[in-house]
């Protein structure tokens, strides 16, 4: 038995090493060769989940292929910063939150927002319903969880706006990936994304009843209503390469495929859920359907057409980035973004192309569904 094990591990190693030698060849197909699709890499922010369903669907349904693009999706990870990957040229486009990407821009990353896919923010601060916390001002004197790493500024801007000094009036607690701290009442209010962590709460069993927690057990502070929300998922392109007509065209094509992908997921939420699950997501089906539905709410209806950057929302994001201080007194940005931080040139062309192809790019009639979460999201 043990001897076999050694043999197996040696054999596995040999196989892996053999694979190593040949893997480099063949992957670099000549770009732009006559008729061959152009390879494009898109860096996502995290593992495959419905938050990225539009891109996954555009690949799967051939929306990129019909634009002549061979799009490869790159999963994110703990230490992968999408906008940095983009700026280093290891990806052609990246999905990133606006404030974080702007911070990277200030550090020298040459990137431009070419499509604001999520028009609205999905960040909540969740508390127990019986805590009486329903608005930012109620957080005074409470233990407030936050994720840090640049994910916390809507919370800090919201508290500041409500007259709370985040450095003095609340106890700030660094939050983990999960919502256990709230369930164990170690903190009074926890940061949560509408499409992910909030759903996890509703998938957990209430030990008092033996049933799942319900929305009635919790109260939500939504930063959209508090007026401190910031723009989130956007498609970023390489600023320097945007001077190249070929990359400009490719950007329009990429955005066209992306628009079609998201429109498809608006109209076929369950099909897109299945696509995400088939990608090997470890989160369950009901969780992914919830996430799909919530993600759709952040996009649709889209008055100006999906992806168009609303200058007012952009300005609010920039203003908060320059003024809201976190617990260490830092702001996201020290000065207003310089150069081409965003442009609607390409998304407008892509919207025209999509409209011509008969795609509903505003989703005026979009109605979210009601998703029932199962235990553990299964």
């Amino acid at each position: 038995m043990p001897r076999n094990r050694i043999f197996t591990s040696v054999a596995v190693t040999a196989l892996l090493l053999a694979g190593c030698g040949t893997a480099d060849q063949g992957t670099t197909a000549a770009p732009g060769a006559s008729g061959a699709p152009t390879p494009v890499k898109l860096q996502l922010q995290w593992f495959y989940q419905a938050q990225f369903a539009g891109y996954i669907a555009a690949v799967d349904q051939g929306f990129y292929a019909e634009q002549g693009l061979d799009v490869e999706l790159l999963e994110g990870a703990v230490d992968i910063v999408p906008q940095t990957v983009l700026a280093q040229g290891k990806a052609d486009y990246a999905v990133a939150w606006v404030p974080k990407a702007l911070a990277s821009r200030e550090q020298g990353a040459g990137i431009t927002d070419v499509g604001q896919i999520f028009a609205r923010s999905g960040t909540y601060q969740v508390a127990w319903a019986d805590s009486g916390i329903t608005k930012a001002a109620d957080l005074k004197g409470k233990k407030v969880g936050n994720w840090g790493f640049g994910n916390e500024f809507e919370l800090f801007a919201g508290m500041t706006k409500a007259g709370i000094d985040p450095g003095k009036d609340v106890t700030l607690v660094q939050q983990q990936f999960d919502m256990q701290a709230l369930l164990k009442k170690e903190i009074d209010a926890a940061q949560a994304m509408s499409y992910n962590e909030y759903a996890q709460l509703l998938e957990a069993t209430n030990p008092a009843t033996g049933k799942l927690y319900t929305a009635d057990d919790f109260s939500i502070i939504d930063w959209k209503t508090e007026g401190s929300s910031m723009l989130q998922d956007a498609v970023w392109a390489n600023t320097e390469k945007l001077n190249d007509p070929a990359y400009q065209q490719q950007t329009v094509k990429f955005l066209t495929g992306t628009i079609k992908g998201w429109a498809f997921c608006r109209d076929n939420a369950e099909k897109c859920r299945d696509l995400v699950v088939a990608k090997g997501s470890k989160l369950g089906k009901s969780h992914q359907l919830w996430q799909m539905n919530e993600t759709n709410k952040l996009i649709w209806p889209s008055t100006g057409g999906i992806g168009v950057i609303d200058p007012a929302a952009w300005q609010q994001t920039v203003d908060i980035s320059m003024t809201a201080k976190n617990q260490t007194g830092e702001t996201v940005l020290t000065k207003a973004p310089e150069g081409l931080a965003y442009t609607n040139d390409y998304i407008n062309q892509a919207l025209e192309a999509a409209k011509t192809a008969g795609v509903d790019v505003t989703g005026t009639n979009f109605q979210p569904t009601t998703v029932t979460l199962e235990s553990g999201g299964a």
Partner: protein, 280 residues
């Protein structure tokens, strides 16, 4: 049988400690002067062993494969990465040790950097190496590089000590036989270094496991136990037992590697008495 008994007893003791603490410990944890000195004993923080075992047997997702199968498969994947990293690290470590033994100036020049290399935080290094994935090498190989980076160090330092361990009399004897450096290395220094090498390899094995798991977490490499830990830990809110199944997998991986490395010793050390050595 004589070997299995203590192992089984150890496992049983660990299980008793876990359940015992759950039974006796404060569910809200023990807090002294505002600092939590003992962990919470509630079901969210410390699920019952039966719950974890039950989770291992039940499907990962509705209608999917049972968790134990997924965890085991992830272990095999990470074992491959660990083995690659371990072998690469051991070879690099050996070569460095030989070079440092051969040339004093190399030892003086290189050894500080070898030691310095281990003070670079992995979280700073991992994204850099992860960037090679898909360009210089397949993504999984970047994780093996991280494992090798941790594994080469004990081998280089331990082996150098071993190669330098023969007494002056032994070296002079070889010289009196007109044996060159190469022959002295093969006949005298390598055999003398073996008792130093094996403890170093054990350290390297453990380091390779840590490197592979942390590297997977950091780069998000699909298929391994590190990735599984991070995926399951996200579900800790609603399914706290699940993340423990992945941790059990990581522990199993560590045991497998430790066992495999100690088996390497058997053929080479059979005729040798064990010598007490200090490697570092």
């Amino acid at each position: 049988m004589r070997r299995i008994l203590p192992i089984a007893a150890g496992l049983l003791l660990a299980a008793l400690l876990w359940e015992g603490y759950k039974a006796l410990g404060n569910p809200a944890g023990t807090v002294l002067f505002g600092v939590r000195v003992l962990p919470r004993a509630d079901d969210l923080s410390m699920p019952h062993l039966a719950t974890i075992a039950d989770r291992l047997g039940s499907p990962e997702l509705a209608g999917g494969r049972p968790v134990w199968q997924v965890v085991l498969e992830a272990c095999v994947f990470t074992l491959g990465i660990t083995a690659t990293g371990f072998l690469a690290g051991a070879v690099v470590g050996l070569l460095l040790a030989v070079a440092m033994q051969r040339f004093r100036i190399v030892e003086r020049g290189l050894l500080p950097y070898v030691i310095l290399s281990q003070t670079v935080p992995l979280v700073a290094l991992a994204p850099l190496i992860a960037g090679w994935g898909g360009i210089l090498m397949p993504p999984w190989a970047t994780v093996a590089v991280i494992a090798a980076y941790l594994a080469f160090f004990p081998v280089a330092v331990g082996m150098l000590r071993g190669l330098q361990s023969p007494s002056a009399a032994g070296v002079e004897l070889m010289r009196s036989y007109a044996a060159g450096w190469w022959r002295t290395l093969l006949k005298l220094r390598f055999p003398a270094a073996l008792p130093y090498l094996f403890p170093a390899l054990r350290l390297a094995g453990a380091a390779a496991v840590v490197g592979a798991v942390v590297g997977e977490i950091s780069t998000g490499t699909r298929g391994g136990i590190g990735r599984l830990i991070i995926e399951y830990s996200r579900e800790a809110t609603s399914d706290p037992a699940k993340v423990y199944t992945a941790m059990l997998g990581a522990a199993l991986l560590g045991l497998l590697v430790a066992g495999a490395v100690s088996l390497l010793e058997l053929p080479l050390m059979r005729h040798r008495r064990h010598v007490e050595v200090v490697t570092l």
